[in-house]
C-alpha cells in the first residue's frame, strides 16, 4: 500500500514535470548582449599567456556581475566557467557547478543539452581551449597575417550555469570597431553574443 502510494506520487511528479516542459518554450528567448568588455588584459609576448581582469557574466541576471554567483567569465579570448577548479591563481572564485561544451550548428538547431559533453574547468586548462584562437579548435580562429580573432561560424557554446540551469550562446563578434587593426593596438576583448537562458532547469530550449 505504501509502495502504491509512492508510485502514485512519482507518477504525478513525472506527469507534472512533463507538462512544465511543454509550457516552457515561451520562457527561453534569444537575447543579444552587445560588447561585454573583457579587454582589460595584457598578453605576455614570451609565452603568449594573458594577465588581467576576468569579466564575469550571469545568465539569470542577464548582465556582468561582481559577486560569486557568476556563470561564465571572459578575459581576452579566454573563457572560463564557474565550475571545476582554477587553472591559474588569478581566476575569480568558483562557487558553482557550471560546465560547458561547444556544439556545431546554428542557435535554433541546439534544442537539447547533451549533458554528457559538459565539462567543468580543469586544473591544466579551462573546459574551452585557451589558445588565443591559434589552433582554431575552440570558439575562435586567429588570422596569422591580420592578427584578427574571429568567432568561428556554427560554434555554439552550451552551458550549465553555476546553479544547474542551462544556457546556449553564440559569440558574434570580438571587437568594438568594424574594421579592427590589431597591429595598431586594437586587440579586442569585446564580446557581442546571442544567448538563450533556460531558467527552469530543464535541458530543452
Amino acid at each position: 500500500m505504501k509502495y502504491i502510494f509512492l508510485f502514485f506520487i512519482l507518477n504525478l511528479f513525472i506527469f507534472t514535470s512533463c507538462e512544465e516542459i511543454l509550457n516552457e518554450d515561451v520562457m527561453s528567448e534569444n537575447v543579444l548582449f552587445v560588447e561585454l568588455n573583457a579587454s582589460q588584459y595584457i598578453v605576455n609576448p614570451l609565452d603568449s599567456s594573458l594577465t588581467g581582469k576576468y569579466e564575469r557574466f550571469s545568465f539569470s541576471e542577464g548582465d556582468t556581475v561582481n559577486h560569486d554567483d557568476w556563470d561564465v567569465a571572459f578575459r581576452g579570448s579566454t573563457i572560463i566557467v564557474n565550475g571545476g577548479v582554477n587553472s591559474s591563481a588569478d581566476q575569480p572564485n568558483r562557487s558553482g557547478s557550471a560546465a560547458v561544451y561547444i556544439a556545431n550548428g546554428i542557435m535554433s538547431d541546439i534544442k537539447i543539452v547533451d549533458v554528457n559533453k559538459l565539462i567543468e574547468d580543469g586544473a591544466t586548462r579551462p573546459a574551452i581551449i585557451d589558445d588565443l584562437g591559434i589552433s582554431g579548435q575552440g570558439w575562435a580562429s586567429y588570422n596569422q597575417e591580420s592578427h584578427v580573432l574571429s568567432p568561428i561560424a556554427g560554434k555554439i557554446l552550451v552551458f550549465r550555469t553555476h546553479d544547474n540551469k542551462y544556457a546556449k550562446m553564440e559569440i558574434l563578434y570580438y571587437y568594438d570597431s568594424e574594421d579592427p587593426q590589431p597591429s595598431q593596438g586594437d586587440f579586442g576583448g569585446f564580446y557581442t553574443f546571442n544567448y538563450v537562458y533556460q531558467s527552469n532547469g530543464t535541458i530543452n530550449f
Partner: protein
C-alpha cells in the same frame, strides 16, 4: 647506301619534321617519338618559335600563360607556378629536350628560371602522363625543345631587349652545322630592378636580380648508325634578399646555381629498329642569407638537389605500328635546411608503349609503366588513347590515363619551425618520433590527432584522367577543337593540425586526406585569312573537394555569418565554390597580323575570372561568402618590323591596361614597355 641507312636516322627525321611542320605540326613529347599533331589522340598543344618570337618573351612564364587553360599563380615563396586542367604546379613536369627540371619550391618550379631564346617549340601535353614520365606527371607535361640547325652552315642571332623596371636582356644564339656535326650555343643575360606594388612597407614586391643561362647542344654522327647527342645548360641567379623584422630592414643575398647535362647515343640498326642510351645529371642548389648590422650572417638557407637518370630506350617501327620499350633508373638526393636528414631516393623503372593505326582512320596508343622505389611502394601507371577520323575533317579523340606523385621529400623529412609566426611543420617520416619526444618533454598542450595515426607512411597521390574531344576542320582556314576533361585525384596530401604546444604554437604534419576532382571543357578555334590569324580559347573549370561535397550532402555542415547580423547560418551545396586559386572561366584572344614579311602585329588578351585565395570566414572551405580576388584582363600588343633580311626590331606594351592587384597578385607588375633589337646573321 648512305641514304638507305639514314632513312630513319635522326637527321632525316628532323628534316621530315621541318618539311612537315610547314604543313602539319609534329610533336614528340606525348609519345616519346614523333607523331603528327593531327594523329595524336592525346590533348596536346604546341607553341611555335614564331609565337614565342612575336611576343618578344624572355622567360617561359611570358609564353606559357598565353595558352588556353594554363595560368601562372604566385606561390608562397614569391615564385610563379602553373596550373593545367585545374591541377597545380606540383603535378606538372617540365622537361628540356625530354629531361626533367628539378628544384621545386613548395612543389612548384619557378618559370622565370627558363629563358626561351633558344627554344624552337614548346609542347604541352594535358592530362595524366605518368605512363611515360612517372611521378609528378598528373596534370601535364611541358617539354621545351631547343633549337637545332638543319642545313649546313652557321646562324647567329643577336638580340638586345630593354623594358620597364630597367630590365635588360641581351642574348646570343650561335648555331652551326657541317656534315655530321651540329652545334648550338646560346647565352642569355637578364637583369632587372624588380618592382614594388606596396609602398607602405620596407620591402619591395620583387627585389632586383640578375641571371644568366648558358646552354650548348652538340650532335655528332660517328657513322650513319651511331649518333651522339649532348646538351648542357648552366643557370645562375643572384637576387637581393630582404626581410623586415620588427621594423628593421635586413639585407642579404639569394643565389641559385643550376646545371644539367644530358648525353645520349643513338643506334639505328635499320629503318625499323633503333635504340638509345641516355644519361642525364642535374643539380640545383640555392643559398639564401641575411646579414645583421655587424655584417654577420644570421638567417641562412640552403637547398641542394641532385638527380642522376639513365635510360635505355628501344624503338621498333613497323608499317602500321610503332613500339617503345624503355628501362632506366633515377637516383635523387636532397640536402636542405630544416630537413631531419639528407633525403635519398632510388628508382628503377620500365615502360612500354604501342601506337597502332588501323583501317586508315583509327589511332590507338596504349602504354604502361612500372616504377620501383627503393624506399617506397611501387607504382603502376597506364594510358590508353583512341582517335577516330570520322571523315577528313572530323576527328574524335579520347584518352584515359593514370597519374601519380610520390610524397615529395618535404612531405616526408621536413622539420621546420617558423619562430616569427609560431608554427612547426613535421614531415610524415619524422613526425612520430619528434612528437613522442615533445610529449615526453612535456611541451605538448593539446593533441588533436592521435600520434598512432602518424606512425605510418604517406601514400602516393594518384589520379585518373579522362579526356574526350573532337577536332573539326571546317575549312583550311577555320578549325575547332573541343575537349572535355576530368581528373580525379585521390589521397591528396595536405598538412593538418596534429597538436598544440605549450606556448601556443601549432604543430602540423602531412596526411592523405583529400579527394579532389577537376573537370571542365576546353575550347579552341583558329581562323586564318589572308594576313590575319585569329585564335580564341576558353576553359570552363570546376575544381572541387569531394569530401566537402560529401559532408554537405550528409548534413555535416559548413557555416558562414550573415554580414549584417553576424549570425551563423548553414551553407548550401551551391554556396561551395571549390578549390582555392581556381577560376571558373579563363579565356584568351590572339590576333596576329602579318604583312608581307615586313611587319607583324600581335595582340593577346587573357582573361581570368574571380577566384578565392584564402578562407576568410574560417570555415575551412571556399564559399560564396568568402572574400574573392576579382577577375581581370591582361592585354599585350607587340609590333615586329623587319628592317632588312638581317635586322629587325620589336616594340610593344605588356599589360596595356596597367592592371595590378597589390594585395593579392604579386606577379603582375603593371604596364610594361619594351623594345627589342634583333640581328640575324647566316
Amino acid at each position: 647506301m648512305l641514304s638507305s641507312f639514314f632513312s630513319f636516322s635522326q637527321n632525316q627525321e628532323d628534316s621530315i619534321i621541318i618539311i612537315n611542320s610547314k604543313l602539319k605540326e609534329i610533336t614528340i613529347s606525348a609519345t616519346k617519338s614523333s607523331i603528327s599533331l593531327d594523329n595524336l589522340p592525346i590533348p596536346t598543344s604546341v607553341i611555335t618559335e614564331k609565337e614565342i618570337s612575336v611576343t618578344s618573351a624572355s622567360k617561359l612564364d611570358e609564353v606559357i600563360t598565353k595558352e588556353t587553360g594554363i595560368i601562372s599563380v604566385p606561390t608562397r615563396t614569391g615564385t610563379e607556378g602553373l596550373q593545367i586542367q585545374g591541377l597545380d604546379a606540383s603535378y606538372i613536369t617540365i622537361l628540356i629536350d625530354g629531361s626533367p627540371l628539378i628544384g621545386r619550391s613548395f612543389g612548384s618550379l619557378d618559370l622565370n628560371r627558363i629563358s626561351v631564346e633558344n627554344i624552337e617549340r614548346i609542347e604541352i601535353i594535358k592530362g595524366a602522363s605518368s605512363s611515360l614520365y612517372g611521378s609528378n606527371a598528373l596534370g601535364g607535361v611541358i617539354n621545351l625543345i631547343t633549337k637545332k640547325q638543319i642545313e649546313d652552315g652557321y646562324k647567329i642571332n643577336l638580340a638586345l631587349k630593354y623594358s620597364s623596371h630597367n630590365t635588360v636582356n641581351p642574348n646570343i644564339l650561335y648555331q652551326y652545322k657541317r656534315g655530321k656535326l651540329n652545334l648550338s650555343n646560346s647565352f642569355d643575360f637578364y637583369k632587372t630592378d624588380g618592382y614594388d606594388l606596396i609602398n607602405s612597407d620596407l620591402l619591395k614586391t620583387v627585389n632586383p636580380f640578375n641571371n644568366y643561362t648558358f646552354s650548348t647542344k652538340l650532335q655528332y654522327g660517328f657513322s650513319e648508325k651511331f649518333i651522339l647527342n649532348s646538351n648542357a645548360r648552366y643557370f645562375n641567379q643572384n637576387q637581393l634578399y630582404t626581410n623586415e623584422k620588427l621594423s628593421t630592414l635586413y639585407e642579404g643575398e639569394s643565389l641559385i646555381n643550376e646545371w644539367n647535362f644530358r648525353t645520349s647515343l643513338q643506334y639505328f640498326l635499320n629503318s625499323k629498329f633503333s635504340q638509345e642510351l641516355e644519361i642525364y645529371v642535374t643539380n640545383y642548389n640555392t643559398d639564401e642569407f641575411l646579414l645583421d648590422s655587424n655584417d654577420m650572417v644570421f638567417d641562412d638557407n640552403f637547398y641542394n638537389h641532385t638527380l642522376i637518370q639513365s635510360e635505355f630506350k628501344m624503338n621498333i617501327s613497323l608499317n602500321s605500328a610503332k613500339g617503345i620499350i624503355g628501362v632506366g633508373g633515377i637516383k635523387e638526393q636532397l640536402d636542405r635546411k630544416d630537413f631531419y636528414d639528407m633525403a635519398i631516393q632510388d628508382l628503377k623503372f620500365i615502360y612500354a608503349q604501342l601506337e597502332v593505326t588501323t583501317f586508315d582512320n583509327i589511332n590507338i596508343i596504349a602504354g604502361t609503366r612500372f616504377d620501383h622505389y627503393s624506399n617506397y611502394s611501387p607504382e603502376i601507371s597506364n594510358k590508353l588513347a583512341l582517335g577516330i577520323s570520322l571523315s577528313d575533317d572530323i576527328i574524335i579523340n579520347s584518352s584515359i590515363g593514370s597519374g601519380y606523385k610520390v610524397p615529395d621529400f618535404r612531405q616526408r623529412y621536413f622539420d621546420f619551425t617558423n619562430s616569427t609566426i609560431g608554427y612547426t611543420v613535421l614531415g610524415r617520416d619524422v613526425a612520430f618520433d619528434r612528437l613522442i619526444s615533445m610529449e615526453y618533454d612535456g611541451i605538448i598542450q593539446e593533441i588533436f590527432i592521435p600520434f598512432s595515426e602518424i606512425n605510418s607512411n604517406l601514400k602516393s597521390e594518384t589520379s585518373v584522367n579522362l579526356n574526350i574531344g573532337a577536332r573539326y576542320n571546317l575549312s583550311k582556314k577555320l578549325n575547332f577543337n573541343v575537349n572535355f576533361f576530368n581528373n580525379k585525384v585521390n589521397n591528396l596530401i595536405e598538412w593538418q593540425l596534429v597538436a598544440l604546444s605549450e606556448n601556443n604554437t601549432n604543430i602540423y604534419s602531412y596526411f592523405n586526406i583529400n579527394e579532389v576532382e577537376t573537370k571542365g571543357i576546353e575550347f579552341n578555334t583558329q581562323y586564318k585569312i589572308d594576313c590575319w590569324e585569329i585564335k580564341l580559347g576558353y576553359q570552363l573549370l570546376y575544381a572541387l573537394d569531394a569530401k566537402v561535397l560529401n559532408n554537405i550532402d550528409q548534413d555535416t555542415s559548413y557555416f558562414a555569418r550573415d554580414p549584417q547580423t553576424q549570425i551563423s547560418f548553414k551553407l548550401n551545396k551551391d554556396d561551395y565554390f571549390g578549390l582555392f586559386n581556381r577560376s571558373r572561366h579563363t579565356a584568351n584572344v590572339k590576333i596576329n597580323y602579318q604583312l608581307n614579311d615586313k611587319l607583324n602585329i600581335n595582340t593577346i588578351i587573357n582573361y581570368r575570372s574571380k577566384y578565392g585565395l584564402n578562407d576568410s570566414n574560417g570555415n575551412n572551405i571556399l564559399d560564396s561568402y568568402d572574400r574573392f580576388v576579382d577577375g581581370y584582363c591582361l592585354w599585350d600588343i607587340g609590333i615586329t618590323q623587319n628592317i632588312n633580311s638581317f635586322q629587325s626590331f620589336q616594340v610593344g606594351i605588356k599589360n596595356v591596361l596597367g592592371f595590378t592587384n597589390p594585395e593579392y597578385i604579386s606577379n603582375i607588375s603593371g604596364r610594361l614597355y619594351y623594345i627589342n633589337l634583333k640581328i640575324n646573321l647566316t
